[in-house]
Amino acid sequence: MGTAIRGLSRCCAPRRRWTLALFLGPVLAGLLGTLLPAFGWLPALGGAALSLDPWRGLLEAPGLARAVALTVLTGLAATLISFLLAMGFCAAAQGMRAFRWAQAMLAPVLATPHAALAIGFAFLIAPSGWVARWISPWATGWERPPDVATVRDEAGLALVLGLVLKEAPYLLLMAVAALGQVPAAQALRVARGLGYGPVMAWLKVVLPMIYPQLRLPLRAVLAFSLSVVDVAVVLGLGQPPTLAVLVLRWLSDRDLALWFPAAAGSVLLLVLVLAALALLSALEGVAAWLGRRWVEKGARGGDAVLLRGAAPALFGLALLASALAMAGLLLWSFAGPWRFPETLPAALTSATWQRQVQAITDPARTTLAVAVLATLIALALVLACLEAESRHGLRPGRRVMAILWLPLLVPQLAFLFGWQVLLVRLGLDGTLVAVVWAHLLFVLPYVFLSLADPWRAMDPRQARAAAVLGAGPCRVFLAVKLPLMLRPVLVAAAVGIAVSAGLYLPTLFAGAGRVATLTTEAVTLAGGADRRILGAYATLQAALPLLAYALAAAIPALLHRNRRGMRAA
């Protein structure tokens, strides 16, 4: 271990370059591999000349216009609602007990994979779902489920809500992290002293301070919402689907000629995301200009009684829906016969788990292996980079940070498609190596973002004291920094495992459909299998990251049970 660390840290700047190559390679090569077929170039499939035929094929596809409209509307709506909800909650619930409660609820919601939450949410709000069962038949008179599309609806409402359940808590978490870095409480006190109501004070003083740190997360949410596949498969309409789902459907068609319009569709998705990002920047400009004038006018008031009640209530409702969704998954997996409109299953049984144990073990093991490997590699790289930073006084520039965010901002489909072609060439498609690599692209940024701030905030005097006592840099790293950073390192690892366990498209593409994880299995089953089996898969899918979070909390508490200074703040 010691030598490994020494080796890692010896030439740190090149390491970082290497990290970036590992990272940028697939994205850039993948983008190119998507762009060329979009203009007719894919010699392996007989596309030997550049042409616009793929675009013609794309434009003539039935339902394309509606798919694009649905994609744009649901993506923008999910992002906007998530942002308003998170900011409204921050502004309204500051200093309230609700704020701490919500914060405690964030980790489990964020750890739960998108697909599992979407499946649970569908169980909740479907016409035959839990909500309908609670109010039937005594209040509604429904002896049978109503013939109304509450999931897979035409407007994509269920899809938007399913995304908001995950994205609003994510933005809140980012806001909380940003709040910790600015003198928010102080500024608020000053503003309140100048006669501003609490909500208006927050909007005028605190929001402008934390917004710069929310810019990238907000963009990631926007890009993700526009290009998401698993949630759209579970909660979205099948006909027409969103653009990303439509493209994926073409890619899995036996008619390989459809790969060309699919490539064009992936590029179109990229263009949509870029346009949406540009729109966001423009809106930010307008909002900043308007906001500055609003602040300068100095209007007082802003008790915003309605908002102070509504925002926490709505946010609480979203958290409650997530909790119920997860409870529903668990209940279904243990349910005996459970017919509509029975509120609860007639009997609980472990029969489903017993029948599925054989089938579920393999994907569970694969999920765990991929998650642990990707997370360990990411941790090693991130620690090496951070250690290099502190030893050489380096600080990543904006460009490096932008590269780190790249896989989160580029639609997955746009580069995974091209990258898969490359993997086939390398003979790596469908291997564990390819899947771990693909996961690394998404795990690494989150591990870095999770670990960088605590690491940089570490009191340098302790390392210095150790050095004065004669410890070499390597010993300082192992004996002082790592133990001090045990909690953040474990949290970062849990984040990495949660991210990996939830990845759908990267697993599907790099695994060439042959590497089955709990996520790919659950999404496949969501097509209409037995809800009890689906419940079992989704429960296990969610249990894995939750377990990782629990361990990340328990291990330091156990190790530091008699170190008062090391306890959580």
């Binding site: 036996r254 086939v424 459909g513 089955a516």
Partner: protein, 329 residues
């Protein structure tokens, strides 16, 4: 590996051929029929002929079950191994629909009286198109034309009758005929919840199997139509570049064995009707089939009737495209 659709496996083989991978392919054995089989056969993507290299193939009932040698009017020529029969049936919840319906026309009438209680899988799904093809058999002026490639002159009268019927039916389907379940199995939870009373299936034993698994109500029963229903065989095929040909052939041969076939036909397992000619089997193997339990929810033998042949694949392609044009946009 788990695939959402056979076409994904076909796409993979095509991609490997395109990438120049002539051996060591990632797919060893594909469950295939219809257009997927035709596509692979036409593009020379299949290994074989294999059928007669398998010892158990001699018991396949090629006379009595012609679908084992002709798949959707396309001669199989031993390039694929039939391993189970399939036939269109309708599953109804007898507690809500006591009397089986006898024709597609009657289904439209029933739907008008019971709006929202029946549906068909998405037309992109093979069972969804099969629903339309089943109606075509009843409505087309010339049934024989369905076995030949669809030409404009044959298509027009048949299509007119089909869409006239469908336009009568569609508004009364589940969700107003605007959305459809994504697959056949996706209809089961809908019946269990009470959303659907009747749905189409391609497995005569589906109701029996699903009742045993708690996926359908105890009152689920099966019926077929007066004019007969479409039947076909499921095949296994080995891609030209399969990495483990011998193992794939051994697997296919095992699936053809009387032991495996009888187990597959057991409604407590899969309920898949056998491809074998029971009369040709040695007595001890025949006894395996005789020992299978009967279920009131399942139709067998004579009750199913002799299956109708699958129409020529061009009909499926044309009808799917036309459906997309009329109702998909």
């Amino acid at each position: 590996m788990r695939l959402r659709d056979t076409s994904e496996a076909v796409a993979r083989v095509v991609a490997e051929k395109a990438a120049g991978r002539a051996s060591g392919g990632s797919v060893d054995l594909i469950w295939i029929n219809g257009p997927n089989f035709l596509a692979m056969k036409e593009q020379g993507l299949l290994f074989g002929p294999v059928l007669d290299r398998l010892p158990n193939a001699r018991f396949v009932d090629r006379e009595g079950k012609p679908a084992t040698v002709v798949d959707f009017t396309v001669p199989v020529e031993g390039l694929a191994v039939p391993w189970r029969m399939a036939q269109v049936v309708f599953i109804h919840d007898a507690a809500r629909v006591p009397n089986p319906l006898r024709s597609m026309a009657a289904l439209a009438e029933w739907a008008r009286a019971h709006p929202g209680r029946t549906t068909h899988p998405n037309i992109r799904n093979f069972l969804g198109v099969t629903f339309l093809k089943q109606a075509l058999y009843e409505l087309a002026p010339d049934r024989g034309a369905l076995l030949r490639p669809a030409t404009e002159s044959m298509l027009r009268p048949a299509a007119e009758a089909l869409w006239a019927w469908y336009d009568r039916l569609r508004p009364h389907l589940w969700r107003g005929g605007r959305h459809f379940p994504e697959s056949g199995p996706a209809q089961r939870p809908l019946m269990l919840d009470g959303e659907l009373d009747i749905f189409i299936s391609f497995n005569p034993a589906e109701a029996a199997v699903a009742i045993a698994n708690g996926q359908l109500p105890e009152t689920a029963r099966t019926f077929v139509l007066e004019g007969g229903t479409i039947g076909n065989a499921s095949f296994l095929a080995i891609p030209f570049n399969a990495a483990h040909v011998a193992a794939a052939m051994a697997t296919a041969d095992f699936l053809l064995s009387a032991e495996a076939q009888a187990r597959a036909q057991d409604p407590r397992v899969l309920g898949s009707p056998t491809v074998l000619d029971l009369a040709a089997l040695p007595p001890e193997d025949r006894a395996r089939f005789a020992a299978l339990p009967a279920s009131p929810a399942m139709l067998t033998g004579a009750a199913l009737g002799r299956p109708l042949e699958e129409p020529h694949p061009s009909w499926m392609t044309r009808i799917t495209a036309e459906w997309e044009r009329r109702y998909g946009g």
